[in-house]
Amino acid sequence: MLEVTTNHYLVLSFVLFAIGLSGILVRRNMITVLMSIELVLNSVNLNLIAFSYQHSNLTGQIFAIFTITVAAGEAAVGLGILIALFRLRESTDLGGAAGLKG
């Protein structure tokens, strides 16, 4: 009973994904939305590591490194956009970005 299987990791990863997704959908603060995106990317990494162990294959770990690279770039660019938007609107509320629809 007390054995951790790939399914345990998958369930945890999906719980994390759902929490991150609901954070993206329900929060108005742009910083919190970016942090929720990081949660989603982390849940993907958990899946990759779980399957890498399941198949005894190192490639999953390599792929996770690339995911972390992309997450770092995404965080830098996302926070840059946030700063630019904050200069324009004096607020981090996503409602301020409604002007993007023209």
């Binding site: 399914n7 590591i49 390599i62 690339f66 200069r87």
Partner: protein, 181 residues
């Protein structure tokens, strides 16, 4: 005591899985982004331990350094840079968020059912793969970091270079976006 040792990895998994979920819930529910960022740090470090339990020692350290160190500092800097004194009268949630929450829970139920019931069978327990894979046959490889390095610089050299180019582009993009006009 011996039962505790025998079930050690499973107990560690449940402990840190619980901490991960608590941290993630904190990010979504706490109104102040500063507390949310601290909560996110708890989640990141717990996930590093979960990596450790799946023979990914190098990746656990990368997770702790890059996420727990780099990305976290970036978030904290930006939170301190934007003024949060108007946070009290700002709304934290969208008006239609109950509907969004219902959809997220439905998705959770659907995929959760699948993940619980699909059987992947026992893992091919060959932990030596994680310390030897990727290296040439006549080389002595002594750890997961070395194995990852061999694999990264031999089999995945082109993606590695593309990733460095991507980081350069992201850096230039962030500087251009953050520049004062």
């Amino acid at each position: 005591m011996s039962a505790l040792v025998a079930h050690g990895p499973a107990l560690l998994f449940y402990l840190f899985a619980a901490l991960t979920v608590v941290g993630a819930l904190g990010v979504v529910t706490l109104k102040n982004p500063m507390y949310g960022a601290i909560s996110l740090l708890l989640s990141f470090l717990s996930i590093a331990v979960l990596f450790l339990l799946r023979n990914a020692e190098f990746l656990a350290l990368v997770q702790a350094f890059v996420y727990g160190g780099g990305i976290m500092v970036l978030f904290l800097f930006v939170i301190m840079l934007v003024n949060l004194h108007k946070l009290d009268q700002a709304k934290a949630f969208w008006r239609q968020s109950p509907a969004a929450l219902v959809l997220a829970v439905l998705l959770l139920g659907l995929f959760g059912w699948f993940f619980v019931h699909v059987a992947f069978g026992p893992a091919f327990a060959q932990p030596q793969v994680f310390v030897t894979a990727g290296a040439p046959a006549d080389t002595a490889v002594s750890g997961n970091s070395q194995a990852v390095a061999w694999s990264l610089y031999r089999d995945y050299l082109l993606p590695f270079e593309i990733a460095s180019l991507f980081l350069l582009v992201a850096m230039i993009g962030a500087v251009v976006l953050g520049r004062r006009q």
